[in-house]
Symmetry: C2
Subunit: 323 residues, 2 copies
């Protein structure tokens, strides 16, 4: 009963405050759920209070914090990089998957499968030092534009999620990215765009080698995958990197299912949220049948697991930051 009264108090107090918080979220079940969870875990007199050290929130990136349609941003980067390097590799005009990239033949690239993708990653992400790759990724992200909207990719981030990240940070939460995207591709811009520093970015990676050349050390990427941070590897990476179970997890696809499951199965207050891409006018509507960001199993289990599903079309007042 006491718990109920306290909860009610939070709700009433919060209904007033909530109107000014997260302005790009319409007042609806998702906004209410996430705000009341943050409130109950951070208010000092709350029975569900969580100490600052344990306030860890993990976010998928593609489709959760920024747009992944019509194609993952890192794929666009990889294609652009292949084109930029093509003059050094005349053999690419006849070799797959390079030929398909140079001919803008997306279907042809896809037909080469995961093996083809790894070849493209090896050709574009390896063979340079971490500093050189950082510079390449940084330069690209400053100028590359989304094929449909013509906006910078860093402007194709979700405004409601930016507000949520900032609100969590202001309440003592530490936000982490746990993405299938490349860790060194994300790090050059996540701090600027999301306020998430390099040490809180978890992602896929290629192997690397430490070398000492003329007494100077360097780390160079090798053309071999080390870790693919997707599905069951997400909780494994979280344990390896953070070493404690997060309190909150945010995703948008079945690739995030295990991460949400791992997070919300812990003891004490837990929160799972799925971003459901329902807006075919302002973005792209996709879920169960999509080849990018398929959301099927996780959508089925959301009600059973108590995860909040955001209906982007109804619940987000704005999707992208104002121009």
């Amino acid at each position: 009963m006491r718990k109920f009264v306290v909860s009610l108090l939070f709700f009433v107090t919060y209904s007033v405050f909530a109107q000014t918080l997260l302005p790009s979220w319409n007042d609806g079940p998702s906004k209410q759920a996430v705000l009341s969870f943050i409130e109950k875990t951070t208010a000092k007199d709350s029975p569900d209070f969580v100490p600052v050290s344990q306030r860890i929130a993990v976010f998928d990136n593609d489709g959760t914090l920024w747009s992944e349609q019509p194609i993952y941003v890192q794929i666009s980067f990889t294609f652009d990089r292949i084109k930029a390097l093509a003059h050094k590799h005349p053999e690419w005009t006849t070799q797959q998957p390079f030929k398909a990239v140079l001919e803008n033949d997306i279907k042809g690239v896809m037909a080469t499968g995961q093996d083809g993708l790894f070849k493209l990653i090896a050709a574009t992400h390896a063979g340079v030092t971490t500093e050189e790759f950082r510079e390449i990724a940084e330069q690209w992200i400053k100028t590359a534009r989304h094929p449909k909207t013509g906006r910078l990719y860093t402007e194709m981030v979700y405004q409601p999620m930016l507000e949520l990240l900032a609100h969590l940070e202001s309440r003592g939460y530490k936000n982490y990215i746990v993405s299938g995207g490349g860790i060194e591709f994300m790090r050059p811009w996540t701090e600027l765009v999301y306020g998430i520093p390099p040490e809180r970015v978890i992602g896929s990676s290629i192997k690397s080698q430490f070398q000492i050349i003329d007494g100077s050390p360097r780390i160079v990427g090798l053309p071999e995958m080390q870790f693919i941070d997707d599905k069951e590897n997400k909780p494994i990476a979280i344990q390896e990197r953070i070493g404690r179970r997060p309190i909150m997890a945010f995703g948008n696809s079945d690739g995030d299912y295990e991460m949400l499951l791992w997070t919300t199965a812990g003891k004490g207050p837990r929160f799972g949220m799925l971003i459901h891409h329902t807006d075919d006018v302002r973005e792209v509507a996709y879920d169960r049948q999509s080849s990018i960001g398929r959301l099927n199993t996780a959508l089925d289990e959301a009600p059973i697991r108590g995860w909040t599903v955001v209906d982007m079309k109804r619940e987000w007042r704005e999707i992208f930051p104002a121009k």
Copy 2:
């Protein structure tokens, strides 16, 4: 010239303050070097000022933060665990390396080499969930005692380093452990003992598997090494996990050489420190010939690289915390 005057000013100001800081350090070159580095990188008007986000210090653990003699603490843990599990494995009384452990035959264990060690780690660190292993390690560290001093291992930490960790933290530095020791072996106690939280512990690890049993997720250790966080793997782990180059690095053996090299080869102010075990009365004197914590190449290169070498015997007033 201006830089010189500013430096002189720091030195004079700091000579006064330094007497109260790091009380377990004798006033000598190492104390002066580390304090003036911290001061010049954190004082707002300093030409060598470093923003808080970049104030990253990495510490080896065994032999740098706590004693590694006469045997690595984790080896003691592993041996105790073998003995505790022996009743379930009658075959161990005749199989190496288990037989040697059960007979307290350290030389016999060593004779089985790295392969034998991996077998011991597989038998003691794998097959349980991360939560179960945490509980096991936590219980052990609460009661296990050093074979010579009879003190708890958590009391075999270096008092001067505890003071340094606390001072760095108070000046906005983030301290990380980068150890050859097992990541999940260290995490249960590093926050309590060193003030270093789980997410800032980097170490060696075994592979693990994500499982869903009756709808509940768990992560279970597998009997296979994933990563050995030593030598050239230390800078690789630092880049993978932190994503930026540290400003300060502390080690005590050739296993830390690459980490110090990587850290101090970066641009701007950098600091490398080696703890030299010179005290045969209060601890153990060892360096170039030791099988544990060999310090040879790094000691030779210290003057060339500008690394500070701490002479434990002369420069540390106290070695371990007061009883």
